[in-house]
């Protein structure tokens, strides 16, 4: 166990170094010039721009710049934002809670909707209910997130006036953005859940449970469900990265003050330290999410062995 965790952490660090190098390189070769952005569009004085470049160390060769970045990174320093005059670590730390709350809400909806749909489809396999649910799952995975967001806003906030249009702070404000983010995953989960549930329902211990005369609901919920959930757990870990990229879209539709908004503003102003920082934090969470999912799996299902 300890050896396994250590080896995975070693791999994780290697992946993170590679990702930081790739991102740094991509941002180094892009045509957009951060010094020009900082100087403002009107300013064309070559001397001003040159002095900004020197100040930021942008006149150094690529490897020197990258080496300095890595060195700071080891001290937990992600650099300073070019335009916001603040430490990137602080900016990310101040926005991270909002995004984590949003993700937690999304995971809740993803599981609640996805599992219910998959369960019902499996129990009523081959019927109209099954077909309707599977068509719905296709519609969920084929809807662009921004469209889902606008649609939910239109129906629940404008038309029915049940929920607020946007903003951050209350549970009511969380529902629509979390549902938007979670519904696509619910589409996937319902399909995985259906096939996993069908596999379980075919097994001997289910037949035994039925033969004992247990109520069908108990057989499905108490005996089959816990076994069928296993494949979903691995998926939740992998979702973290997907969610973090989608927050750029969802947070902009709902005005949610999280990492997504921070990233989007940074991208538009070529604020490279923020883009680098967010990419690294996201990659960390992805790697961590996968690791946690792999570690939890054998605890729930002893048949799975760590290799």
């Amino acid at each position: 166990m300890a050896v396994y965790v250590l080896r995975r952490l070693g791999q994780a660090i290697l992946i993170l170094v590679l990702i930081s190098f790739t991102t740094f390189f991509l941002l180094y070769v892009v045509p957009a010039d951060p010094a020009q952005m900082m100087a403002g569009r009107g300013t064309n004085s070559a001397a001003t721009i040159a002095s900004i470049r020197e100040q930021l160390g942008l006149d150094q060769p690529f490897l020197v710049q990258y080496g300095r970045y890595l060195q700071n990174l080891l001290h937990g320093d992600l650099g300073r934002s070019y335009l916001q005059k603040a430490e990137v670590t602080e900016l990310i730390a101040s926005r991270l809670p909002a995004t984590l709350v949003l993700m937690a809400g999304a995971i809740f909806f993803e599981i609640a909707i996805g599992l219910t749909m998959g369960l019902l489809a499996a129990v009523w396999r081959g019927t109209k209910v099954d077909q309707a649910l599977m068509v719905a799952s296709f519609v969920f995975v084929s809807t662009p997130q921004f469209l889902m967001g606008i649609l939910l806003l239109y129906v629940f906030a404008v038309h029915l006036d049940w929920l607020p249009m946007g903003g951050y702070g209350s549970l009511a404000q969380l529902i629509l953005p979390a549902l938007t983010l979670g519904i696509l995953g619910a589409g996937w989960y319902s399909r995985v859940m259906r096939s996993s549930m069908l596999d379980v329902l075919r097994q001997d211990f289910i037949r035994t449970a039925k033969a004992k005369g247990l109520a069908p609901a108990i057989v499905v919920l108490v005996h089959a469900l816990p076994n069928a959930i296993l494949p979903i757990i691995a998926l939740i870990g992998a979702d973290v990265g997907y969610f973090l990229s989608q927050t750029v879209v969802v947070e902009s539709v709902f005005g949610w003050p999280g990492i997504g908004q921070l990233t989007w503003q940074a991208i538009q102003r070529v604020d490279i330290p923020i883009i680098m920082g967010v990419t690294l934090v996201t990659a960390c969470l992805v790697v961590l999410g996968n690791l946690v999912a792999d570690l939890i799996a054998p605890l729930i299902d002893p048949r799975i062995k760590l290799r």
């Binding site: 991509l26 941002l27 662009p144 239109y154 096939s195 973090l244 990229s245 070529v270």
Partner: protein, 280 residues
């Protein structure tokens, strides 16, 4: 293959939608009632807001008084072109890397698959947004960016399949009679991979359509005046309370096209690759 596809109502529905969009895209210049970027003087109300659907403008007009139907028809060209081109490149990259890694193995294979893992742990949409925003946005950047983030899943499937094919008896038999690797690769392995490429190629277009729409919605995808379904929504989203059709009609088009490729891809998977039924 085609017959068993046509027996599935959902796949049939998907094929029908794809056919409609292809016809709309190919015949847009003849089908569209007006040029897509002509701004009509009578295309706006006296207050300057867009017109709802009416006999002159069948789906209404947009914020600049342009005919929405004509823009949608031309937008179909963009969506299909990006979907097919970007995805063909992605299938090409994924197959090349997957087959090379799976067939030759060794150090190169391991290095290629670690590179694939690396790309997979990169959040795809975030990468696409960063790249598309920072390069000067254009149709080609959108295509290249989507292709760059979309090849990973196919690559892994192709890799696994190549590995298992290379172990089979018929490959062993070929080696035994002294066949060289190009013969084994091109005569015996690649033909077995074609079904996978078709399935993932079709499912991939669905993802590509969504990605293009998302990038264009954010304003970093296909740039106006070229109409794309995503940028039509981006341009008109401020009107979504007073003129919801400007958002929901192009939105429905994106949803239907993406859904159609999903339905057809899934049906193809059932027909061509029965071992993987129902898994995503």
């Amino acid at each position: 293959m085609l017959r068993s596809l046509l027996r599935r109502p959902l796949a049939l529905f998907g094929l029908f939608i794809i056919l409609v969009v292809v016809i709309a895209a190919v015949f847009a210049p003849w089908l569209a009632p007006y040029p897509p970027d002509e701004q009509f003087f009578d295309g706006l109300t006296i207050e300057g807001s867009p017109l709802p659907p009416n006999p002159t403008f069948l789906l209404g007009t947009d914020l600049l008084g342009r005919d929405l139907l004509s823009r949608l028809l031309y937008g179909a060209q963009t969506s299909l072109a990006v979907g097919v081109i970007a995805n063909s490149i992605a299938v090409g990259i994924g197959t090349l890397i997957g087959v090379t890694a799976g067939f030759f193995g060794g150090f190169i294979g391991a290095a290629l698959m670690r590179f694939t893992d690396l790309t997979a742990s990169f959040p795809a949409l975030l990468l696409a947004i960063v790249l598309a925003a920072i390069f000067e946005p254009s149709l080609w950047i959108v295509i290249v960016v989507i292709a760059m983030v979309n090849w990973v899943q196919l690559c892994r499937t192709i890799y696994t399949q190549t590995r298992s094919l290379a172990e089979r008896e018929f490959v062993e038999a070929e080696v035994a009679i002294g066949a060289g690797w190009p013969r084994i690769l091109f005569r015996h392995l690649i033909p077995h991979l074609v079904p996978l490429m078709i399935v993932w190629g079709t499912l991939g277009i669905s993802i590509t359509v969504l990605l293009e729409a998302t990038l264009s919605f954010l304003g970093i995808g296909v740039q106006p005046p070229i109409p794309s379904w995503g940028n039509i929504i981006n341009e008109n989203q401020t009107y979504f309370l007073t003129a919801p059709w400007l958002v929901f009609i192009p939105g429905a088009a994106i949803l239907l096209l993406s859904l159609a490729f999903n339905l057809v891809g899934e049906a193809l998977r059932d027909v061509l690759d029965p071992t993987q039924k129902g898994h995503y």
